[in-house]
């Protein structure tokens, strides 16, 4: 059955959608008829993020085929990549190195319920469920460029909240300097984790001031809908001024530390992937030129921007640092 276009008056406001999600959960009704309701566009109330583009006052009603975003472009005017491209072209080695194969292998990967343990040098260590985080921190839409170290890029409308809010909740100790993230390890569900050449589980890290920056978010959704498993559901990090591999997917642990944490890719190839991994057209990777990139959906290459176009917001974090040394 083809759903009819939904009049704008019927588009589910964010809080309603959230409570309905809870409601459906408690009733255990996510199957059958409930799916119809769940398929309605899950529109985020688009609180304007610093980076979100101005959008039309009235969103045009659309059939509930895929979740959608009211934004159409990033703040530089470049259009969003399609939901299909974003959810079918994924670098997620826990599943497979085949970018098209990830969505297929991840299809049945359970992302809900999902818990995140926040611990380490904090005064109030705790485990949160993603549902609780969503209720507490009210995800907003953030349209970010994602620049992969392999020199391709996309524009993606995430739903998420600043990591800072979560860190404040657990009260970092004065000795905390870094944040370490650890992803889920489930080799029976993630066939790529059976490949012996990687120090699984995936781990990543940020300096505390990077983690506290407003652009740094934990994403729980995409295109106004849920975060599909192939994009890092239950919950993932998004740090838009760094290469994509910093934005760790499927996080189960967040730990505050005094020492700079090890990261998966800098363990695998220390001379290729540094801890900082800021997008920087002037610091080349031994394999890929970082001077240019291909925006998915475009034919030619375009110049890569310093800090992926977020220099104004983040450059001051690295004052006085030699970015060639700290790549």
């Amino acid at each position: 059955m083809k759903p009819d276009p939904i009049p704008s008056s019927e588009i589910t406001p964010k809080d309603l959608y959230l409570s309905r999600r809870e409601f459906l959960k408690t009733l255990g009704l996510l199957a059958g008829g409930a799916v119809l309701a769940a398929c309605a566009p899950k529109l985020a109330e688009t609180q304007s993020a610093a980076t979100a583009a101005p959008r039309p006052a009235t969103a045009s009603p659309r059939p509930a085929v895929t979740p959608f975003s009211r934004a159409t472009a990033d703040e530089l005017g470049d259009p969003l990549n399609s939901y299909k491209d974003i959810t079918n072209y994924n670098n997620y080695y826990e599943f497979t190195t085949d970018k098209q194969g990830v969505a297929v292998l991840a299809r049945d990967f359970p992302t809900s319920p999902w818990d995140v343990q926040v611990h380490g040098l904090v005064h109030r260590p705790r485990t949160f469920s993603v549902d609780e985080l969503i209720r507490k921190f009210q995800p907003e839409e953030r349209v970010y460029r994602l620049r992969c170290v392999e020199a391709w890029s996309m524009v993606i409308p995430w739903l998420g909240f600043p990591l800072r809010k979560l860190l404040k909740e657990v009260e970092p100790a004065g000795s905390a300097r870094y944040v370490r993230f650890e992803a889920v390890y489930q080799p029976e569900k993630m066939p790529g984790q059976k490949v012996p050449f990687y120090p699984w589980p995936y781990q990543e890290g940020l300096r505390l001031d990077e983690a506290m920056h407003d652009l740094t978010i934990l994403a729980t959704g995409l295109y106004g809908g849920e975060l599909p498993p192939q994009n890092g559901g239950g919950i993932r990090l998004v740090v838009p001024w760094k290469y994509g591999f910093k934005s760790i997917k499927a996080i189960i642990k967040i730990e505050l530390t005094a020492e700079q944490p090890a990261t998966l890719w800098s363990t695998v190839a220390p001379d290729e992937y540094g801890f900082y991994a800021n997008v920087n057209p002037r610091v080349d990777h031994p394999r890929w030129s970082q001077r240019t990139e291909r925006r998915i959906g475009e034919f030619g290459r375009r110049d890569t921007l310093m800090f992926n176009g977020y220099a104004e917001q983040v450059a001051q974090l690295y004052n006085g640092m030699d970015l060639r040394l700290y790549y």
């Binding site: 392999e150 050449f197 890719w265 031994p286 030129s289 998915i296």
Partner: protein, 226 residues
């Protein structure tokens, strides 16, 4: 098309195309054309990923490498099986490998870098993996150009010596492959299983070519026959 058998130790056979030899010839061309067919099917099915240029570039690279391995496998196969009729088809496979390398390079230079020669030359000078690829490609080019009878007759003994460079091309191409993927040979980690498998295959094929090993195998084969 079956040219008179050349060089190496193949047994001179009557030139008439028997059905069996025709079939073998068709089979060889099928192997060479399979990647093109595969790519067409993927294209029709809209399965070239969201980043088709990179996908095609990598696809042709893998096709060139696979066929190069096929070339290197011919001689050991003949050693093991005694199927001398395979020998003349080495050249065909080699030319297919060269063909896919040319497509690989054209995708890289034309589609990926829009014939921005400044950038292409800079990359070729800077990136070790491109340097190895270019050396392998250069060897394939020289071998393809000299693969014709004219050169074989002119270069005589040197032709065989020259064409041994196909092993070097194989080694350089495997290295190029290993370095093109997100892994590290230094720490032996990352995306290296396939390049390692290719390297192991190449090593095995090389060992089977060593004169002592080859003589031994041929001797054993004759023993078994008796």
């Amino acid at each position: 098309m079956n040219l008179p058998s050349r060089a190496d130790n193949s047994i001179i056979q009557p030139r008439r195309l028997t059905n069996r030899r025709k079939l073998l010839s068709i089979g060889i061309h099928a192997i060479g054309l399979l990647p093109l067919l595969q790519l067409t099917v993927l294209w029709v099915r809209d399965s070239l990923t969201a980043n088709p240029i990179q996908f095609i570039e990598q696809f042709f690279g893998r096709a060139a490498l696979n066929l190069l391995m096929a070339v290197l496998a011919v001689s050991p196969l003949v050693t093991l099986s005694g199927w001398n009729a395979l020998i003349p088809h080495r050249r065909t496979l080699g030319l297919y490998s060269f063909f896919y390398f040319v497509l690989h390079f054209l995708t890289f230079a034309v589609l990926d870098y829009g014939l921005n020669w400044g950038e292409i030359l800079r990359l070729s000078a800077e990136k070790p993996f491109i340097i190895f690829g270019s050396l392998a490609g250069l060897i394939l080019l020289v071998l393809a150009l000299t693969s014709f009878e004219y050169w074989m007759k002119r270069l005589k003994q040197n032709w065989r010596r020259l064409h041994k460079a196909v092993y070097l091309a194989g080694a350089l191409a495997v290295l190029h492959y290993a370095l093109a993927l997100k892994g590290s040979l230094a720490t032996l980690s990352g995306d290296i299983s396939r390049p390692l498998a290719m390297g192991a295959l190449l090593t095995l094929l090389l060992i089977l070519r060593l004169p002592a090993v080859r003589r031994r195998i041929i001797f054993l084969r004759h023993q078994i026959k008796k």
